[in-house]
Symmetry: D3
Subunit: 62 residues, 6 copies
């Protein structure tokens, strides 16, 4: 039943596919559970909705 | 003050309305609190942002 | 794959059992998915870790 | 390493900028940590994805 | 209905009280909503459950 | 700024150390960011606070 929520900015679909494959494998091995018990949610936040060190990420990127 | 976050894929607005009504009632009864203390957030994730058993949900659906 | 996180205060185990049963049924029906795709996490927060209307819940309860 | 997730509805970018600045300052002071350790994520939920007191927020606003 | 979840390590109760008061005020002003619509959850994670830059926080603190 | 929250049951500290190291590396490579931008929170939920397929995990384990 591990559930993993990843909060970050945009990611292209090929990277998502690779990441989900590898993160599921790593998590299943760590917890000693079958891979089909692992659920992952990738959250792609807008840069203007992320604050780092007091600034919006959208402004740090300008 | 119960706060409930539901992570899933798309849902049409009529189902959301029914779900929020019934989930609020169930939660208020369970905790012995008035219905106006219950907040629900429904998160509609893209299928390519959900990983199940090592695969993107968008590919399992193909 | 619906994942539901419930944030609230303490709940006794009999109520948790009932709640998980009913919430799973309601969610499976809403999304048109089998019950074994639903995962629920109940978070029992200390009253001093909950803020409501600017006050700690632990002080409102005194 | 404080991470703060704010769930609410829409907010314009000038308010986000002010909020992130002030929330970072408040959090850094509270925890006695430098401001560059604070990460904030602002979640702008659609009104039809928020349930309050058993109703969709989108219907309460009508 | 703003809901704010703060993930960090331990905090003493006097700091929690001050933080909840000030964070509620800041959030209510930002969103133009009354203070009694704001809910805050403070999560005090064990240092061995926090990973920073590839290390457990419990080991960085040693 | 990737922030990863892992919801599961208990894990011993040696496994946490390995997991955080490997998950940080995987995430930094995926997003093309330095490892010191990755924060991980491991949540160890009690089995009686996890619902799977309509049952408490604590009862499935009995």
């Amino acid at each position: 039943m591990p559930v993993i929520i990843v909060e970050s900015n945009k990611l292209d679909v090929d990277k998502k596919r690779e990441y989900v494959k590898n993160l599921t494998k790593l998590t299943a091995e760590t917890y000693g559970l079958p891979e089909n018990t692992v659920t992952i949610i990738i959250r792609e936040n807008e840069a203007e909705n992320i604050g780092v060190a007091g600034n919006l990420l959208s402004e740090l990127e300008e």
